[in-house]
């Protein structure tokens, strides 16, 4: 009996304890967001204009992908960033590689990619890895949404078991495999260790294989970017792996720790740190935030989708963002890609709390836009070479002559070149044509220009005459606007700011009627002296009626022109005189930083000594008492002087021409009435080309590659102007003018519409 009693007593104890004890529940994720500030959203640069041919990012499909909206991903897409060409390794529970929304972006499993089971099959037996991979690179196929970098490629590694657990060996070995795959750019790690470390050695002690291989990956000549989730313990310090970034500069240069926010439209936390998320803590300098609450992505055991929460989901948002930046800017090193994404994060309002959000909320609009000023490169093809020079875009211009602007426009259409962000020399693509402005002949014929020429002048004109000749001075207040000295006997003329017309009228009786500036076109004058810059000086010397010399200089452009005029038919002989007036012009014109009056600056600059040799013929013959025939033609041969560091690399000489034929009749119908008709071709390039050598690509070695653009400068058409001019002297102080102009192929372009101008002016002098 005693024995039975003892047995009963012993057996009863555990039964007593178990029967009366209750089951305990486990605690859930801690609640309570930390945010108290104002949540500011990134500004999406998309707008209704950001569309591509396949997909409207502002469609309902895009808006259903709230995490992408929260980071302004559509701006990156509109700039062409989709992750194409970027490889991302997902170290996780494996991947459902045949899921129809990611299979096209999957790289075949590499040898040993399942470090849990030591085989080559990194399939997912949990679901976490598939979800993570989908957030990065689910396909853009209008099915179930798409990943942040929907054209990126995914390498799958199974280093976490079916419970979502891994070891230093399984995870570290995966890093070892990745280290040897050169193609992998980014390594996503939506896992971590809930522990602290206070030094590099103590961090390493948390997992030596992981640490050593991670460090090795970070020290490669082209290091791999690693992204880690901060963890979900609602603590003020992130995971051990994130803390490691604070103690190893090789690792931190190419690593990002990610905390999770609940975007306002996704969860109750309204854009604040998700209640479960750890804070950036000591890893703040290498940390940022991304949506991690209720993200929809791939299931692992069907072609369906599932919502998941965690910094696990925020980390692949950032991995995808890195892929977009990396693709967009081929000139950035991996460390610079990391720096750009961190630097461009939204750090205003709530996100200014560094200890919580690190650099702030990921902003893919800002990350793919210029941070500093965009600049052209010169002097070197190495982005970081001290001899490399940079020039803000506004300092690089080319204003082309209408003689070839049409050809230039055609040749540069669709041509692009690279420019670089002063922040980090990120490469941006821009149209070469954006630097070029075209001159235009046809704009000379606008009514506005006609009226401008006829505006009553406020200037005072003073004419004096003395023993030496005539002086004409036009003043505006105390300022001399123009002046001219014409010697007695017309053998010398000096002019300042006189138009070429008035200059020639003063000394050359050939011009007369047709050079009346009221009609706008200086058809008969030398086209190679580019007057009109505001400080033009002329001098003409005529030894006698058969020989003369003109000089011209442009103070602004430092042009210098010289022309010899031969008048072989000029003679006192009556027979010769009847042959008409013939002037042969031979000359040269040097232009500083210009050619053919095409000015340029910066990387499109030309040298100090571009030179045009020209020859011209002017002819006038009176046909009877009333009719006068006038003709002129000029041809030039231009050598372009190459400036150092200029994108204008070399050129062939440019052959140019211009001509005018005209017939005038005095006493038309009535006395004191004149009528004229003439045909003119403005200056046009007949042959020649230049070679533009522009930067077109750059690599992560920070080397720029230039490409040649051969630009044929001959326009595709020939502009011809037809003018009819009528003048009637109404009184001694007033006259009536009428002008009819027809412009064919304006600016030498066959795409120009023909233009017709009619003007009627009455001008009275008081």
């Amino acid at each position: 009996m005693k024995n039975i009693s003892k047995i009963l007593a012993i057996l009863s104890l555990p039964l007593i304890l178990s029967a009366c004890g209750g089951g305990g529940g486990s605690g859930g994720a801690a609640a309570g967001g930390v945010g108290t500030g104002t949540v500011t959203n990134c500004t999406d640069g998309g707008g209704s204009t950001h569309k591509d041919t396949e997909y409207d990012y502002f469609s309902s499909v895009y808006h259903s992908l709230k995490p992408l909206t929260a980071v302004c991903a559509s701006s990156a897409y509109a700039r062409g960033a989709t992750g194409d060409g970027i490889q991302v390794a997902v170290v996780d529970t494996g991947i459902h590689e045949t899921h129809t929304d990611i299979n096209a972006n999957m790289i075949a499993y590499t040898n040993g990619s399942d470090t849990v089971n030591s085989d080559n099959d990194a399939s997912d037996d949990h679901g976490h890895g598939s979800h993570v991979a989908g957030i990065i690179a689910a396909e853009h196929n209008n099915s179930g949404g798409h990943g942040v970098a929907y054209d990126a490629e995914i390498y799958g590694f199974k280093a976490l078991n079916a419970s979502g657990d891994g070891s230093d060996t399984t995870l570290g070995n995966a890093f070892g495999l990745i280290e040897n795959i050169a193609a992998i750019d980014i390594v996503n790690n939506s896992w971590g260790t809930n522990a602290d470390c206070t030094s590099a050695s103590s961090c390493r002690a948390g997992g030596t294989t992981i640490y050593d291989n991670w460090e090795d990956m970070s020290q490669l000549s082209t290091p791999k970017i690693t992204v880690f989730a901060a963890g979900n313990d609602s603590e003020d310090q992130p995971s051990l792996e994130c803390q490691t970034m604070a103690y190893n500069t090789d690792i931190s240069a190419v690593s990002i720790c990610v905390v999770a926010v609940s975007h306002s439209s996704l969860g109750k936390d309204g854009g604040f740190l998700a209640s479960f998320s750890n804070q950036c803590g000591k890893a703040a300098s290498y940390c940022m935030a991304a949506p991690g609450d209720r993200l929809l992505s791939l299931r692992h055991n069907s072609n369906g989708y599932v919502y998941k929460n965690g910094t696990s989901m925020a980390a692949p948002m950032v991995s995808g963002g890195l892929a977009l930046v990396m693709q967009e800017f081929s000139s950035l090193t991996p460390a610079q890609v990391v720096s750009r994404l961190l630097s461009t994060a939204n750090d205003s309002g709530e996100y200014s709390q560094t200890a919580i959000y690190g650099h702030g909320m990921m902003n893919l609009n800002a990350a793919t836009a210029a941070v500093g000023s965009l600049q052209t490169i010169g002097g070197s093809n190495l982005l970081d070479d001290p001899s490399t020079s940079y020039n803000d875009l506004v300092n690089n211009t080319f204003t082309s002559s209408a003689a070839f602007s049409n050809a230039l426009t055609n040749a540069l259409a669709g041509q692009t070149m690279e420019v670089y962000d002063s922040f980090d020399r990120a490469n941006f693509e821009t149209n070469v044509s954006s630097f070029f402005t075209s001159g235009s002949y046809t704009s000379q014929n606008t009514v506005e220009n006609h009226m401008a020429r006829l505006q009553p002048k406020t200037m005072e004109k003073v004419k004096t005459k003395n023993l030496y000749g005539n002086f004409t001075v036009e003043t505006d207040g105390n300022y001399i606007e123009s002046s001219m000295f014409q010697s007695a006997g017309d053998f010398l003329a000096l002019g300042f700011n006189q138009s070429t017309n008035s200059f020639e009228n003063a000394v050359d009786p050939l011009s007369g009627f047709f050079n009346d500036s009221n009609f706008g076109n200086n058809y008969l004058v030398n086209p190679y002296f580019h007057a009109g810059s505001g400080q033009d000086y002329f001098m003409s010397f005529n030894s006698n009626s058969s020989f003369g010399m003109d000089t011209f200089t442009n103070a602004n452009g430092n042009d210098l022109g010289l022309a010899f005029n031969l008048n072989p038919l000029s003679s006192t002989s009556g027979d010769a005189k009847n042959a008409g007036d013939l002037q042969i012009v031979l000359g040269t014109n040097y232009e500083q930083n210009k050619f053919l009056n095409s000015s340029s600056t910066g990387v499109f600059a030309t040298g100090d000594m571009s030179n045009t040799n020209f020859t011209g013929v002017k002819y006038k013959k009176n046909l009877g008492d009333d009719f006068t025939f006038v003709g002129s033609g000029f041809a030039g041969y231009t050598h372009i002087d190459k400036a150092s560091n200029s994108y204008i690399d070399k050129s062939t000489p440019l052959l140019t021409s211009t001509f005018t034929l005209g017939l005038a009749k005095a006493n038309f119908i009535k006395k004191n009435q004149r009528i004229g008709f003439f045909i003119n071709q403005p200056q046009r390039v007949e042959d020649g080309s230049l070679n533009l050598r522009v930067p077109t690509s750059s690599d992560r070695g920070r080397t720029v590659t230039y490409s040649n653009l051969n630009v044929d400068l001959e326009p595709d058409a020939r502009q011809i102007n037809f003018d009819i001019i009528f003048q009637k002297a109404v009184t001694e102080t007033s006259n009536l003018s009428a002008n009819l102009t027809h412009v064919q192929n304006g600016d030498h372009s066959n795409s120009s519409k023909n233009q017709n101008f009619i003007s009627l002016f009455y001008k009275k002098t008081f």
């Binding site: 005693k2 009693s5 007593i16 679901g127 979502g164 657990d165 971590g192 260790t193 997992g207």
Partner: protein, 138 residues
């Protein structure tokens, strides 16, 4: 003295949980345990019997190919901050019509590396003649 203790203990047993003494420990016909981080899976957690409208839905979230007739009870734990948690059945007892299921959720070992997603553990069971169920978890 010993006799007194035996008598007192026996009285206590009969007064507090006398039926336990008669409880039968049983083995489930089918058992499948794991962890899942799908929000829809663990937003409603706890016990689900075959009569619950969410029963088939929860099964399908784990594997749509699961044969529904293979299970008649689901237990989903409260969500945890990471993966690495493992739920196991310690024992199941039956007394009259009441089943008592004793679960044990094992935390990840200290310093272990786990997925950083909110995760819940679960077990699907099939128990013969299941009627009333009381769940204990530690």
């Amino acid at each position: 003295m010993l006799n007194k203790f035996v008598i007192i203990s026996s009285l206590f047993l009969f007064s507090c949980s006398s039926y336990l003494i008669q409880a039968e420990e049983i083995t489930p016909e089918n058992l499948k345990c794991g962890s899942n981080s799908g929000v829809a899976f663990f937003e409603k957690n706890g016990s689900f019997t075959i009569d619950d409208k969410d029963f088939n839905y929860k099964l399908g979230l784990i594997d749509k190919n699961l044969d529904k007739s293979d299970f008649n009870f689901i237990y989903i734990s409260q969500p945890q901050s990471s993966g690495g948690y493992v739920l196991e059945v310690e024992k199941i007892t039956k007394n009259k019509n009441k089943h008592r299921i004793y679960f044990k959720e094992n935390k990840p070992s200290e310093g272990s590396r786990s997925i950083a997603a909110i995760t819940a553990t679960y077990c699907f069971l099939k128990i013969d003649n299941l009627d009333q169920v009381v769940v204990f978890i530690k």
